[in-house]
């Protein structure tokens, strides 16, 4: 038990709060190139591959990844900015493209890994 706990406690909280912010900031920083990559990857694919893979159309995914990349760039994360709600949503959209759509679109073009 600490009697001067009041000071130490708020100190610790502020440290945790800072840590939280810095982690978010690092994620945000890493997410920007990932968003750009997703957009350019979608751009380079043939349009009929999206239909062939049973996904939304190429313009739809260009819109989703493009808008997400812009949101990621303009809503800064971390201690210096706000809007984590928006850029986290954008990051989720980008990750859906990379994890689900991209392998399907690449695979339907005959470029998938042979398991």
């Amino acid at each position: 038990m600490c009697l001067d706990g009041d000071h130490t406690y708020s100190g610790r909280v502020s440290l945790l709060y800072d840590l939280d912010n810095w982690v978010l900031w690092a994620i945000w920083l890493l997410a920007i190139p990932v968003g750009g990559y997703a957009f350019f990857h979608a751009l380079m694919q043939r349009a009929d591959a999206f239909t062939a893979a049973d996904k939304l159309t190429k313009p739809a995914w260009l819109g989703i990844t493009g808008a997400s990349a812009l949101v990621l760039i303009f809503f800064q994360g971390g201690p210096l900015g706000s809007g984590a709600l928006f850029w986290l949503a954008a990051l989720v959209a980008v990750l859906v493209y990379i994890v689900d759509v991209k392998p399907a679109v690449v695979g339907v073009q005959g470029g998938g890994q042979r398991w």
């Binding site: 043939r46 009929d48 591959a49 239909t51 062939a52 998938g112």
Partner: protein
């Protein structure tokens, strides 16, 4: 006389009059058709640099939904690879992962890599077409193609295009009309 106006500003002639404008397998297959049918296939010379559908349509004022694209699909099940060709209007996209995959009874379906498609068909890249496909390949024709009064398809080479009635495309050897193939 068949209406070949779907070729836009191009002047078409009966394809068998200009075998120099046909890929070898295409010329062979046309000669094997009923002469009355073959006479309804027209050919027109184009700039080989404009063989891609979007550029072709823009350059020669041909409607985009008057062109049909021929896509070669490879379906795999284990070590076994089966091929099929799909003919869909250029304004639509082939449902490869759904209808084609099921028709080929394959576990996985994808566009055939262009090198394989060129080698197997004996046609030029960008000129692969529904007439003169290798033996045993099903030709899946979208019902919208079959219903079209006339469609533009490739000729086996990049330097020309064919025009033929959709109804004839649906009766080509190994052709099957598939509802909803193009989406």
């Amino acid at each position: 006389m068949t209406d070949w106006s779907v070729l836009g500003t191009l002047q078409a002639v009966p394809a068998l009059d200009r075998p120099d404008l046909l890929g070898d397998p295409v010329a062979l297959a046309l000669k094997a058709l009923d002469p009355a049918d073959a006479a309804r296939v027209g050919v027109a010379e184009i700039d080989p640099g404009l063989a891609d559908t979007a550029q072709f349509c823009a350059a020669y004022s041909s409607p985009i939904d008057g062109s049909a694209n021929c896509v070669v699909v490879a379906g795999r099940r284990g070590e076994d690879t089966r091929y099929a060709a799909c003919l869909v209007l250029a304004s639509t996209r082939a449902d490869v992962n759904g209808l084609v995959r099921k028709r080929l009874n394959a576990r996985k379906a994808s566009f055939a890599p262009m090198d394989d498609a060129v080698e197997l068909t004996g046609m030029e890249y960008g000129g692969i077409t529904a007439i003169g496909l290798p033996e045993g390949w099903p030709l899946l024709v979208d019902s919208a193609v079959a219903a079209a009064p006339a469609v533009v398809i490739g000729s086996g080479i990049r330097g020309s295009k064919l025009a033929l009635p959709g109804e004839l495309a649906a009766r080509l050897p190994a052709a099957e009309v598939v509802e909803g193939l193009g989406r």
